[in-house]
């Protein structure tokens, strides 16, 4: 049912406005970044308009590979953890009497600036933070436990920050389901475990894919979280891009990393979404 692009009528006109918006503020900047990655570095910052592959050569370096892999792995762990936490939450919400109130509660954290919320984690998990004071007072530990400035803290705060993005798509895909199918499954011989794996999961596949994408993508690009709660060995690619842009003043290299990151993300999302759809259609 493909329509000719030019034959647009009625409400679809409003779609064109959005399309224009996307082109101007999303696609054009992406191409600007792509273009920058092939230009020459200006040591005062910015670029000179001469073609160069030096940006890419600068980042062919085992250090970047480590940071790159770390970014992917930590983002992947955060996404999976978020989904694991979000499924039971979304399930309870979808079949709750107070679903609208609960939905509101999921969104409430967004009313506070995210930096403030990350600082709050420092206050809670820091070496002198609430948890450590509590543990020391009760005598569980001699001196403070190092909860913060490591990869654990990065994952924890990433999950905390992006959990709502995982809950919402799962909520909407569970809410569409008829509650009786779970009872029918038990009636037909499923244990509770089988109800989860054979009925719930296959029916919310699309929601899981969306949740994964919604957590994975912002995690890959995160800058503030590892900057504030990460340690020496939890620098992520976002921090590296920031460093190249500011202190190192190597814009082509920053643009090159961004371009690679973008291509990987696009490929990953396409594979994931296409795979999800294909299985759904079986």
């Amino acid at each position: 049912m493909k329509k000719s692009f030019l034959k647009v009528s009625g409400y679809e006109k409003y779609g064109l406005i959005y399309l224009f918006w996307l082109l101007l503020f999303f696609l054009v900047p992406v191409f600007v970044i792509l273009a920058y990655s092939f230009l020459t570095r200006n040591y005062q910052g910015g670029v000179e308009f001469r073609f160069s592959l030096q940006g890419y050569k600068d980042i062919v370096n085992p250090n970047y590979l480590v940071i790159f892999l770390r970014t992917i792995i930590l983002s992947f762990i955060s996404s999976v953890l978020s989904i694991v936490i979000a499924i039971p939450v979304a399930y309870q919400m979808a079949f709750s009497k107070w679903k609208n109130l609960l939905l509101l509660l999921v969104i409430v954290p967004f009313w506070t600036n995210s930096l403030i919320r990350i600082y709050a984690w420092i206050f809670i998990l820091g070496n002198n933070g609430l948890v450590n004071q509590f543990l020391i007072k009760l005598g569980f530990v001699e001196s403070y436990v190092k909860f913060i400035y490591n990869n654990f803290a990065v994952v924890l705060v990433l999950v905390y920050t992006y959990l709502p993005f995982a809950i919402l798509p799962l909520y909407s895909s569970i809410e569409r389901l008829e509650k009786h199918i779970f009872e029918a499954a038990m009636d037909l011989g499923c244990t509770k475990r089988q109800v989860f794996f054979k009925v719930l999961l296959p029916n919310i596949r699309q929601g899981i894919v969306s949740s994964f994408v919604f957590v994975f993508i912002p995690s890959i690009g995160t800058y503030a979280v590892p900057e504030l709660v990460g340690g020496k060995n939890s620098r992520l690619i976002g921090n590296e891009i920031a460093r190249l842009l500011t202190t190192a003043k190597n814009w082509p290299a920053a643009a090159a990393i961004s371009s690679i990151l973008l291509s990987i993300t696009i490929v990953a999302v396409l594979v994931f979404m296409y795979g999800g759809e294909k299985r759904e259609a079986r």
Partner: protein
């Protein structure tokens, strides 16, 4: 597939403070088509869910073939349910929906194929095997859920208002299909409905429920002809309800009752009454004959005859409903089937003077208030 008997023993159930089921006792014989009939909120669905294991009891017991099943989880009970909204698995096609319980039991692929194909033909769904539930009509969905529930070879099939989401014509068809299916598979069916016509047309026995209590248990005939109380009399079928006072005991089964608006009527009683008791009498509209002339009776025949004027006629194609105002001012409802009009019979019209007459057996004393 032989079915099981089900016994409900002194079952009580609360939702918070709300007493949903009050000391329910029922015996459901093996292989019978049993109906739980009642208005919404009477507790019938809750009782069904208790048998299925989807709801706990607060007191009492549920026995299957004289063995308690209360401590079995729903997946261990030899009982399957047809849900009101079909509850098909949206991610599976018709074939896989029906195969679902068989795959859980790890049947071999060939066994599954044979069995599912048999069920597909039983429910006439062969050509829809590859479709997803979203592509099916309501009636087809219901048949899939039926086939899926039968795949496990349950001893008892529980049906929760299985046809109520369908339109009237389809409802009739599916009901007949259900009845045929019951004859074929021969297991116990427990059918929950709020529709009295459904319940009495297919059931072997019916339990009428109201406010968490079984108000009457019996065959459809017993429930229709001898309602236990006013609720049953008005909930099942139409009826003329009349209040009167007993004047005279005529014989073991007949009493003379005086009604302020109808005069003296001979009524049937199957319960003790005395002179001066106030009684409530039900008279089914279809039991009343209507005519322009007074009927010719044999010498010893006892018949109730009332004179009145047609107040309202409702033409319904296969019959006409007459609302007749008696001389005393009571409105009696009656039907006349359009079997065939005799050539010399004049059609009864609005404002005609008519005689209503009926057999004393049909004016049935429902409730007695000892005066």
């Amino acid at each position: 597939m032989p079915g099981s008997s089900v016994s409900i023993v002194e079952v009580d159930k609360y939702f918070g403070d709300f007493h949903v089921l009050k000391n329910i006792n029922l015996e459901i014989k093996e292989n019978e088509f049993f109906s739980l009939l009642g208005p919404s909120g009477c507790g019938k669905t809750t009782l069904l869910r208790i048998i299925a294991g989807l709801e706990d009891v607060d007191d009492g017991d549920v026995l299957l073939d004289d063995k308690s099943i209360l401590n079995l989880p729903p997946n261990k009970r030899p009982v399957n349910t047809i849900f009101q909204n079909y509850a098909l698995f949206p991610h599976l096609n018709v074939f896989e929906n029906i195969a679902f319980p068989l795959r859980l039991k790890k049947f071999s692929e060939s066994e599954i194929r044979t069995k599912v194909e048999w069920l597909l033909s039983l429910t006439r769904l062969e050509e829809h095997a590859k479709k997803k539930p979203a592509q099916l009509s309501g009636g087809q969905k219901q048949r899939v859920s039926l086939a899926r529930a039968l795949a496990n070879e349950p001893k008892v099939l529980l049906l929760d208002e299985p046809v109520s989401a369908l339109d009237a014509k389809l409802r009739q068809e599916l009901l007949i299909e259900l009845d045929n299916l019951h004859d074929k598979v021969g297991i116990t069916f427990i059918y929950v409905t709020h529709d009295q016509a459904e319940a009495i047309s297919v059931s072997d026995h019916v339990a009428v429920m109201n406010n968490g209590v079984v108000v009457q248990y019996g065959t459809p005939y017993e429930i229709y002809e001898s309602p236990a109380n006013t609720f049953v009399a008005t909930f099942i079928g139409e009826s003329n309800l009349m209040k009167g006072t007993v004047k005279q005991i005529l014989s073991e089964n007949y009493v003379l009752v005086e009604f302020p608006t109808l005069g003296e009527i001979v009524c049937f009683r199957d319960k003790p009454v005395d002179v001066n008791d106030n009684v409530l009498v039900t008279l089914r509209p279809e039991k009343i004959r209507i005519g322009h002339t007074k009927p010719q009776l044999l010498e010893d025949a006892v018949t109730n005859i009332v004179h009145g004027v047609v107040d309202e006629t409702i033409y319904m194609g296969y019959q006409t409903k007459y609302f007749v105002r008696t001389d005393g001012g009571y409105i009696l409802r009656t039907y006349k089937q359009h079997a065939s009009y005799l050539l010399d019979e004049r059609i009864i019209q609005w404002k005609d003077e008519v005689f209503l007459y009926w057999n004393p057996d049909d004016s049935y004393i429902v409730e007695v208030d000892k005066g």
